[in-house]
Amino acid sequence: MKTRSLTWRPSVRAGLFAGGLVVALVCFSAAATVSAQQKISKRYPGGKNVRVELRNISGTIVVESWNRDEIKLTATIESKNTHVVPKQVNQCLSVDVMSDNRGRGDIGDINFKLQVPVNSSVDLETVRGNISVTNVRGGLVRAHVSTEGDIELSNIVASQVIAQNISGNIFFDGEFLGGGTYDFKSSKGEIQIRIPGNSAFRLVAASPARRIVLNDFWNNNMKNQDGRKIVGDVGDGRASVSVTNFMGQITFLRR
């Protein structure tokens, strides 16, 4: 036994040394990555009805309301050479990553977090990445992902809502206002719309894959074209709702 323990010791030591080296390398590379990232955080004055326009290329966008009359923008920027230049004109704050970095090649991900007054209008676009908007009650909520990314709009009360992507899910939880327009469109993801049971709207839903589930919102006055398109009024049809999904499912849920 003693002889055996003597022969093991050098290999154990070597193993411990190698392990330590690996851990040190991992920590170093992680620290290097963190230091390469930039983080900006700025506050902008604004009234109760501000407008925020954001054009990103890649990365997530999170928008939340808060109970202050100002906008707080936080961005985590992956690449050192990326420019993020927010511009404020009157009540409108705009960030156009695409224009600010034209011709710079790969600029990596930029993750945005925006805190806005509750009655703000938000117009958000990204080529790739998730968009989430919560507790906003302004005139417009637009979330457009040019390629793939989930869109989650929670507790939204706005007179115009537009959510569009190609791949990825779209989830809307909010209210349809009388006279408002609501457009949801995806090519491949699932679209879920969660609204109060007493919602009144005119619906045009199209899904060539024949996957439209209206649950409580279905009524016999609706025109069903072969399961691929359903047109009709729910209640007195005050709002206008259009939902299109090429391959995925459209589901209406009661709040």
Binding site: M98, I166, S167, A206, P208, D226, R228, F246
Partner: protein
Amino acid sequence: MNCETCQELIHDLVDGSISQSDESLLNTHIKDCLDCESVRQDLASIVGFARTRRGEYEAPPNEQALWLRIRNVIEAEAIARDRTGNRVASSERQPSFWERLMGHSWELSLPQLVASTVAIVLLVSLTTVVGLRRWGTTEIPTTQPTAIVGTSDISDRILQREQALTYWKQRVEINRARWNPEMRDVFDRNMSTINEAVANSLNELKKNPHDDVSEQMLNEAMNDKLALLKKFSDL
């Protein structure tokens, strides 16, 4: 503003004779309407091309020789017409085949008369049978020409849209090298998703050329394709 009014105003816009109020209405419409935006770009590029190439068209190398050739061709045609006219005039002098045939006095023996009657009966029967068979088969393909016409209409429309898309595809190809490999994959993946939607709609339209839903889906998928190309041509 509707698309018709917008497209009328686009001409004024390209000419630079549009009023400020019309221009702002037009811009608002164009922002949301990809079709009108596409018309504006096409027209602008045509007018731009014509302006940049003004005065560059080359004159024929030898104008005199060209006019000589044209005159020769016209003269040759005139001579040929004269000859045909002469031939017609000469044929008027002789009795025609039908005149000779009808002027002939026909005298037939009994066996000749029976043989001709049998031949006529046989010919009429044969023609009737063949005619009935043809009539029976022509009823089935009556829907097919419609289908073919419908499909070719769609193909024409696709072709027209594809021509508009070609410009943006070329721009994307130029910029593609600048994207990182991940972005290239994202573009390819999403373009193939849209192409799949286009193909599905086209298949449905082949089965039923007058299907509104498939036509709407096809239009939307083509618009998505254009929007994706435009977005990536800017990257």
